[in-house]
């Protein structure tokens, strides 16, 4: 079964002055705001709907000049980071 990922409702995203900001709604943490690279910002926008690693990697490879293999590995690592922050969860899974 394909695993789908989705944004949680614990963060808001802003594109300000060329920077991609991810802001934690509950600021009971030492780092309530994160800066994303442009490609990470692109992936965040793709996560407007639940998406698989494969779908995200396909979008990334289509948008930027990168192989599917590299894109897949980057997307997987990025999703792992965002999951550890609580910004992304498995669609339909427990958070």
């Amino acid at each position: 079964m394909t695993v789908l990922y989705e944004r949680t409702d614990g963060f808001v995203y802003r594109h300000v002055a060329g920077e991609h900001l991810l802001v934690a709604l509950r600021r009971d943490r030492t780092a309530p705001m994160f800066m994303l690279t442009p490609t990470a910002g692109f992936l965040w926008e793709q996560l407007a709907r639940p998406s698989s690693v494969e779908t995200l990697a396909e979008s990334l490879a289509a948008e930027y000049e990168v192989s599917r293999e590299v894109a897949t590995a980057d997307v997987a690592a990025w999703l792992e980071q965002l999951q550890s922050l609580g910004a992304v969860a498995i669609h339909g899974g427990s958070r």
Partner: protein, 329 residues
């Protein structure tokens, strides 16, 4: 190629993090206390709060720097707060926000929110106060647990700052952990967590002619013409100075202690991050955070922002003024 997620850079000027301490207000012997009977109105940043006693046996009292913020009861008010003394029970409904052990916000039903303050300051287990309000932030009920004296209700802490911060978040404003200084009709803000030197900056600036709007917490309101305006507040720091006045903001400075003065302009995205982590009071709803970010975006576009490393003298303040003046040209 995606790259790591990085925490937004922030000037490390204190070991303190979120949430900020809810420092208890102890009154100000120099400026005294005044009893107002059944009704008293206070105005902060253009927001008028009207406190009413729920009982004819309980008189409302205002103390210290808050006295400078009392306005005529005929002033149209933004919010009314009914004050009563009695047993405090809090709901166990879904949690909206937990601020350490200081307080927690919950939603007892779809139309109301409740802030429960506790545990009891005297060592008891129960909450010591409860604030209930409607979703429009206009009707409030504040209940204080019985104490030694139950015929006097000192208004202000902890309700006024919370109500004003929540209301401002919805109306182009915010409250920053910043001291603010007024000179020649312009306001200069010095952002920092506890211990960064906000009160010290204010104390030193007074020696070169500045007036203190606040030495700890400043209200910022974005006006329709794009002007960022700073307002004084009575929520003071160790310098205990507050002025009920406002002025357009000439510059905002993130302060840090150092062995010499160094001023470094910072870009809009980092400026938003620096200000965001120094906001007073969390907004428990995503849409309020979105509005606050809107306000911050307009604020950093309207006023120059820089990091100011400084010694505990007036030199940093003078350097900040020179920077703001150059930015205006």
């Amino acid at each position: 190629m995606v790259g790591p997620i990085q925490a937004a850079p922030s000037t490390d000027n204190s070991a303190a993090g979120w949430p900020p301490d809810l420092a208890l207000y102890h009154g100000d012997e120099e400026r005294g206390t005044r009893c107002f009977g059944a009704v008293v109105s206070l105005q902060y940043g253009g927001q008028t709060l009207r406190y009413r006693s729920a009982s004819p046996d309980v008189a409302l009292e205002v103390a210290g720097p808050r006295l400078a913020f009392v306005v005529d009861d005929a002033t149209p008010c933004a919010a009314e707060i009914l004050c009563e003394i009695g047993p405090v029970e809090c709901s166990s409904s879904p949690l909206l926000f937990q601020a350490g052990t200081s307080w927690a916000a919950r939603a007892p039903d779809a139309l109301h929110e409740e802030i429960c303050y506790g545990p009891d300051r005297s060592g008891g287990r129960g909450p010591w106060a409860r604030l209930r309000h409607d979703n429009h932030l206009s009707c409030f009920e504040f209940r204080l647990a019985p104490r030694e004296r139950n015929d006097v209700f000192q208004v202000g802490f902890p309700t006024d700052e919370y109500i004003v911060a929540r209301r401002l978040a919805r109306s182009n404003g915010l409250v920053l952990h910043a001291s603010s200084l007024l000179q020649d009709g312009l306001a200069y803000l010095f952002l920092g967590h506890s211990g960064a030197g906000k009160s010290t900056t204010a104390m030193n600036a007074v020696t070169v002619g500045a007036e203190v709007l606040s030495d700890d917490r400043t209200i910022v309101v974005m006006e329709p013409d794009g002007t960022a305006r700073a307002w004084g507040t009575p929520w003071h720091g160790s310098f205990r100075r507050a002025t009920n006045a406002s002025a357009p903001i000439a510059g905002i400075f993130v302060i840090a202690q150092d062995s010499s003065e160094r001023l470094t302009p910072i870009g809009p995205a980092r400026a938003i991050g620096e200000a965001f982590v120094r906001l007073i009071h969390p907004t428990p709803h995503a849409w309020e955070v979105e509005l606050t970010l809107d306000t911050l975006e307009r604020l950093v576009a309207a006023a120059p922002i820089a990091e100011l490393r400084q010694r505990p003298t007036a030199a940093g303040y003078l350097e900040a003024r020179r920077f703001a003046e150059a930015a205006r040209r």
